[in-house]
């Protein structure tokens, strides 16, 4: 079982990340997944998060307890959630938006300039898709094709290609980062 928290600020598409991941894995990836999001005033403007549990068996307990993977796309969200990341867990951040203060020794940290890449592709609104591509590459949680299959219906039709492009950009960057790491 893998517990994942996506975090950032409201408007970045943080909820959408977990919806894409959950839909992809449960419908096309042969896994069970349960997705939850934070409701309430804290979701507006400030730190925002969504939770995804992925398992080979049916997920029973509906919430994450200590995430194996933390994705942070804002400093505030990173600071709010970084302590709960499991030992030997995986931290994924937006390079330009999150500056880890004191790096935890017992975790793996990868970062991607998701928002910068998205801006280069023409719209920062697709930063979450760059992040999902990168996330897919470094976690190897499923194939990029499975992830992209989930996009229709979750992103506006007229932006589907752009979203896929953003995903691919993040995915390729993720593969490069992994390659550098092993060299």
């Amino acid at each position: 079982m893998t517990e994942i928290r996506f975090s950032g600020y409201g408007g970045q598409g943080i909820i959408r990340c977990a919806l894409i991941g959950g839909k992809a894995l449960s419908i096309y990836g042969g896994k069970f997944s349960t997705m939850n999001q934070s409701f309430g005033p804290e979701a507006r403007g400030g730190a925002c998060s969504s939770q995804l549990i992925v398992s080979d068996e049916r997920v029973l307990y509906p919430y994450i307890t200590r995430p194996d993977i933390l994705v942070s796309m804002s400093q505030e969200a990173y600071e709010k959630y970084q302590n709960e990341l499991k030992d030997n867990g995986l931290l994924i951040t937006d390079t330009d938006l999150v500056k880890p203060k004191t790096e935890r020794k017992n975790i793996t940290h990868y970062s991607v300039p998701a928002t910068r890449f998205a801006e280069e592709l023409g719209n920062r609104i697709i930063a979450n898709l760059v992040m999902m591509g990168f996330f897919t590459a470094v976690t190897k949680i499923t194939t990029p094709d499975v992830m992209k299959k989930a996009l229709p219906g979750l992103v506006p039709d007229r932006f589907l290609d752009l979203n896929k492009k953003a995903f691919d950009k993040g995915y390729e960057y993720g593969l490069e980062v992994l390659k550098e790491k092993t060299q």
Binding site: K23, S33, N36, F39, P62, Y63
Partner: protein, 388 residues
């Protein structure tokens, strides 16, 4: 009972990643619901939103009513107009609905009410979960009556059980409650919607006799009276007052006994047919964990831990909470040391388990006052303590 296949128009066949709230609406549409009257309230608003988008597309009606009293009134009207009708709400709205829920029971009107429970009393916790309305579903309106309440534990079951709720409501001409909660309502999981021809629908029992001979409360051989659609030439009268077969008031103890006893008996005498539950490792168990809805998923972690420690632990998951499986609990209580009842309230269904166990075993309440689900450790500790 006349059964048919679902109308494909309302059935969104396929695999979806959907939350429980949406799944309630999809279940209703698949069951043939073509009228929604409601007043949006967190955490059930998404169901109303889904209905507002989808029901006009399948030829149905969506009305946002002025309040929850009006919501149930509109459902009663729609049902007597010939449609299958549903509303959705949460605690505060459920309280306001109670008066007309009593009317629906008295008029023997089939309708479905989903309650996506949140923490109470009063406005309580709008965005956070509870199972605190279970007794209200049973006893919320005044007078004696029986209803049916189901408790789904996942978005998939929100879909499945809403169909079941409609079928039961048509079968017994009674309001049926789908008692879910914020956690399940807002949780996204895979929901598989089968092809329409695989969905079995119970048809309303329409009266076909001469127009001037229709009696709205004359029971058929199965104990359930026929219905007609208003506006088709039948002249009939229905009232919340104690009434005879013709639907006219007859205000005396004799008629009250027949009328109200019928409301009770049509559910009680069919309890065995209505009640559904899931049992696991009951034979030889020292302790049973009895739960329903989201709590059954949370409790299972504790059950696994208890089994690991060698405690013979069985589970019962109530799918139907009302009517309550009285006989089943009475039998079980003779065979086990204890029944542990975790639920997200101060101990509501616990009271029923305690009553039905007739002091033959220990019954332990594991309350949680809402806002979150149980910590499985608390349930595990209760299991351990119970078998000591």
């Amino acid at each position: 009972m006349k059964k048919s296949k679902a109308d494909p128009k309302g059935v969104l066949t396929g695999s979806h990643f959907m939350d429980g709230d949406y799944a309630l609406a999809e279940g209703a549409l698949a069951a043939g619901c073509r009228f929604f009257g409601g007043y949006p309230i967190t955490p059930s608003t998404e169901t109303a939103e889904r209905f507002s988008e989808r029901i006009p597309v399948v030829g149905g009606v969506f009305i946002q009513m002025e309040d929850e009293l009006g919501s149930i009134a509109s459902l009663i009207g729609a049902a007597w107009g010939g449609l299958k009708a549903m509303t959705v709400t949460s605690g505060p709205g459920f309280s306001l609905m109670q008066e007309n829920i009593g009317l629906a029971c008295m008029l023997e009107t089939p309708l479905v009410i989903a309650n996506v429970q949140r923490g109470g009393p009063s406005t309580g916790l709008p965005t956070l979960t509870s199972q605190q309305d279970m007794m209200q579903a049973r006893w919320g309106s005044h007078g004696d009556y029986e209803i049916i309440a189901l408790s789904p534990d996942s978005p998939q079951e929100c879909f499945d059980m809403t169909i079941k709720a409609f079928n039961l409501s048509e079968l017994f001409r009674v309001p049926v409650f789908v008692m879910t909660d914020e956690c399940v309502g807002h949780m996204h999981e895979k929901v598989v919607i089968p092809p329409a021809e695989e969905i079995e629908i119970v048809e309303r029992k329409w009266y076909k006799g001469p127009k001037d001979k229709y009696l709205p409360y004359k029971c058929d051989s199965d104990g359930i009276p026929f219905m007609v659609k208003t506006g088709q030439g039948y002249r009939f009268h229905i009232t919340g007052l104690t009434h005879d077969e013709r639907g006219y008031p007859l205000l005396n103890a004799e008629c009250q006994k027949i009328n109200v006893q019928h409301l009770i008996d049509k559910i009680k005498n069919n309890a065995d047919k209505i009640i559904e539950m899931e049992e696991e490792q009951i034979d030889g168990a020292e302790v049973i964990v009895l739960s329903y809805g989201i709590t059954s998923r949370v409790a299972f972690r504790a059950v696994q831990q208890a089994r690991k420690e060698g405690i013979k632990t069985g589970t019962i998951r109530l799918i139907t909470v009302w009517p309550f499986p009285e006989k089943k609990i009475e039998e079980l209580a003779k065979k086990v040391k204890a029944i542990v009842v975790p639920e997200i309230n101060a101990g509501q269904v616990f009271l029923e388990v305690d009553r039905c166990s007739r002091n033959k075993c220990k019954v332990v309440s594991v309350p949680h006052l809402g806002g979150w689900v149980h910590n499985p450790d608390d349930i595990f500790k209760a299991i351990k303590e119970a078998v000591k």
